[in-house]
Amino acid sequence: MKFNKFFFLNFFILCIILSCSDSDDSNSSSSDNYDRQALLSNIVNNIIIPAHNNFKNELDLFKSNVEVFDNNRDITNLQQLQNQFIEAYKAWQHIEMFNIGYAEEIFYASKMNIYPANISRISDNINAANIDLDSNSNQYSAQGFPAIDYLLFGLAEDNQSILNIYLSSGQDNLTMNYLNILSDKMVENTDLVIDYWQSNKESFINSSGNSSTSSLNMLSNDFVYYFEKGLRANKIGIPAGVWSGELPQNVEAYYKGNISKLLAIEGLQASYNFFNGIHFGSNQIDGEGLYDYLAYLDDTNYSDSTMFIGLEDDIVSSFENSMQKLLLLNDNFVIQIQADNIKMLEAYDAIQQAVVRLKTNMLSILGISVDYYDADGD
């Protein structure tokens, strides 16, 4: 009797202790193994934050150019504004993939870059007294870069005609007003996102566990999502008609026209840099990235694996191959699609090969779930 009571008590205590020790985000400092915190620290301090700061500089400059143009509406100021728009749009390509934390909460990426722009809604908004750009998801395609692309390049055939639209009815010009509202909104949202990163970077770097909400997990998922959707589908696949007929009007920066290739290359370069852990900026220092982590994890020793290069190098070469195919395209994807869509489809196929590797091999070996679904498995 005594023995039994003792036995069962012990048994249950053991069960409880052991089953409570589920894995959770631990702030473990690393040992001789792979240092995930160094990886997170590199991505946050040398990629995410500098890329956001750079974007903010370009966006602030854009905002001040809007003010200059507002006060003095002439061709020179319009052109300067247009040029700065391109610079800001390029800088944006380096942060779209970080749909994390506050950015995710406010649908930052959707508010900045959903295209094609919804022209009829933009026209309605220009004439409306009060518009809610924050909580109505139907408004996402009437703000951000695609809407401004339309306002700066798409209102009329040439710059003089566009300028004339901004000159009509002087200070009460509704289009100018809407341009101001949109650029203010972009600055406002961006400032809040940067605040988030500044105040949360420590906890983000320290969350080095492997649960579905850990930093590395979120970064990897968001990166793969961006690469598949933001880059592959939106920039190339959808306009080239991979999903159903060709849709040249769906290219990024449709109204500016000849920068769609530039933006796609910028997005692919940003992905490449993130994967490799290459610092943001011109010095191109190669820090810790997913590449290095995969190299640590990927020591599968199948007998015939000599025929394969390592998974991490395989992914890098699929990026490089994608870049080569992108470089073959016309600066303006609209022209490319109409003249020779096969080249667009080839670029899509090359990027697709990278998507396949990221979604199967990389996610499999990283040991993280594709996203936050929750159920048993065996």
């Binding site: 009797m1 039994n4 009571k5 069962f8 048994f11 053991l14 069960c15 052991l18 089953s19 020790s21 589920d22 894995s23 959770d24 985000d25 631990s26 473990s28 690393s30 040992s31 193994n33 792979y34 995930r36 080095s208 566990g209 492997n210 649960s211 991979v242 999903w243 159903s244 007929g245 994890l297 990927d298 599968t300 199948y302 015939d304 694996s305 394969f308 998974l311 395989d314 998507v355 396949v356 590797r357 979604k359 199967t360 091999n361 996610l363 499999s364 070996i365 990283l366 040991g367 993280i368 779930s369 594709v370 996203d371 936050y372 679904y373 929750d374 159920a375 048993d376 498995g377 065996d378």
Partner: protein, 451 residues
């Protein structure tokens, strides 16, 4: 021979082991249901999705909207009744039917231990688990020894098949998939950053797991090794619970089920232990009589022998299929192949109207949940079922001559991903059957295996 069988069937045993088993099993099923409910899985797995993957021949088993909760309700109360031993026959039949119905509703959630629960509850229909320590039982009866042995046999089969399935080159020679899984379990206290990062530990766990599965049934059967074996059972299953949290209730069901191997005096002590909390002290009677006719009940014996023939043959059915089992997954389920493969897929579909060349690529998330998409992406039968579902949808949308093509890549146990479905094959023309699948591109590597 005939006499031997007859003698064996006539052997009696005290009813304690079955009573304990009935009570514990009822509690575990109740916890399983409550846990399912508590985690919101009834909603997210059965009510939210528009489409459900069904088993061949069981496409009529579907969730019933909000009434799906009713099935779980029924299952919970039948488990409660089983535990109490109240109207046991009806309760255990209801438990088997309701739990199996839940399992059949969507293949996405297939788990070996759910199948184990179904199997045990089916077997228990024919066992007199209510003959003691139950509301049903007015008197104390002896029960046939074979009723207890049949539960033991099922557990033996589970372990043996699980162990034999681990005898393959990926598991033993490459230590896969444990190498992939354990390496990323770095946040487990104590061993995560140390032991689990060491190459030898993947081999230790792989070989240890295989040897454990194969030897534990025998160690449990022999009296001299039984206590040691049971301690091993506890350690092993708790360890799997720590290393693989999503394994759910499985460790508890296995640990509990192994108690059946202890002799009836042990079970008697458990009952005495529980009774020591109540005021009645005199319930354990030593003079019990046999239940008439149960020892050679033809119906029970017929179903139970049929059940075990099924349990022995079904895990072997993979032998009838050519091609790599882990790749084609023909004969993979219902075979106690647990944690053998790390498989991740990426599968998208293109629907073509051959009459005018019009086509569309499908966004899987428009039709499937994240979980369904993940499971579908590497399991051939699910890919085919989903392809037909998509084809039907587009037929209704006005596509005249529908074809469905898949672009699919799969990685298995850390190998580079390989194209999975033949992209030239119109899946809409492929029929669902138990025949060898021809539209999967053969696996390029070789995995040697015993089963």
């Amino acid at each position: 021979m005939k006499k031997l069988i007859s003698d064996y069937l006539n052997k009696d045993s005290s009813p304690y082991p079955l009573s304990i088993y009935r009570i514990g099993f009822g509690i575990l099923v109740m916890i399983t249901i409550l846990r399912f409910w508590y985690n919101g899985w009834i909603d997210s797995l059965y009510i939210v999705p528009d489409f459900h993957f069904s088993y061949y021949g069981f496409s009529w088993v579907k969730p019933m909207g909000i009434y799906t909760y009713l099935i779980f309700y029924i299952c919970f109360f039948s488990a409660l009744f089983v535990m109490l031993g109240y109207k046991y026959k009806y309760a255990i039949v209801t438990l088997f039917l309701s739990f199996t119905y839940i399992e059949l509703m969507d293949k996405t959630t297939y788990l070996n231990h759910y199948y184990l629960v179904s199997s045990i509850s089916f077997l228990m229909i024919f066992l007199p688990c209510n003959s003691y320590f139950s509301i049903d039982s007015k008197s104390n009866n002896k029960i046939p020894k074979w009723t207890i042995d049949s539960l033991k046999l099922l557990i033996v089969l589970v372990y043996l098949y699980a162990g034999l399935a681990k005898i393959n080159s990926d598991w033993l020679i490459n230590a896969q998939p444990l190498k992939i899984w354990l390496k990323t379990k770095y946040s487990i206290p104590l061993i995560g950053e140390s032991l689990l990062q060491k190459e030898f530990s993947y081999y230790l766990f792989s070989w240890g797991g295989m040897l454990y599965d194969i030897s534990i049934p025998f160690l449990l059967l022999f009296k001299r090794t039984r206590v040691f074996a049971f301690i091993m059972v506890i350690i092993f299953h708790i360890l799997t619970r720590i290393l693989f949290p999503p394994i759910g209730m499985f460790p508890y069901i296995m640990i509990f089920s192994c108690i059946i191997f202890f002799n009836s005096s042990f079970h008697k002590k458990i009952i005495e232990f529980f009774k020591s909390f109540s005021k009645e002290k005199n319930n354990i009677l030593e003079d019990y009589k046999s239940i008439k006719g149960l020892n050679k009940n033809k119906i029970s014996l017929f179903f139970i022998s049929g059940f075990f023939i099924f349990q022995i043959l079904v895990p072997l059915r993979s032998a009838f299929y050519t091609g790599e089992l882990f790749w084609n997954e023909q004969g993979y389920r219902f075979s106690w192949r647990v944690m053998l493969i790390e498989k991740t897929g990426y599968t998208t579909f293109k629907i073509v109207d051959k009459s005018n060349g019009k086509f569309i690529k499908v966004n899987n998330r428009d039709y499937l949940t994240m979980f369904q998409e993940k499971q579908m992406s590497f399991q051939p039968d699910m890919i085919l079922e989903y392809a037909h579902y998509l084809g039907d949808i587009y037929k209704n949308k006005g596509f005249k001559d529908v074809s469905v093509y898949a672009e699919s890549y799969v990685t298995l146990n850390g190998r580079p991903s390989q194209q999975f479905v033949d992209p030239k094959i119109d899946l809409y023309k492929q029929k669902r059957s138990f025949k060898h699948i021809k539209w999967i591109i053969p696996f390029t590597d070789e995995i040697k295996s015993l089963l």
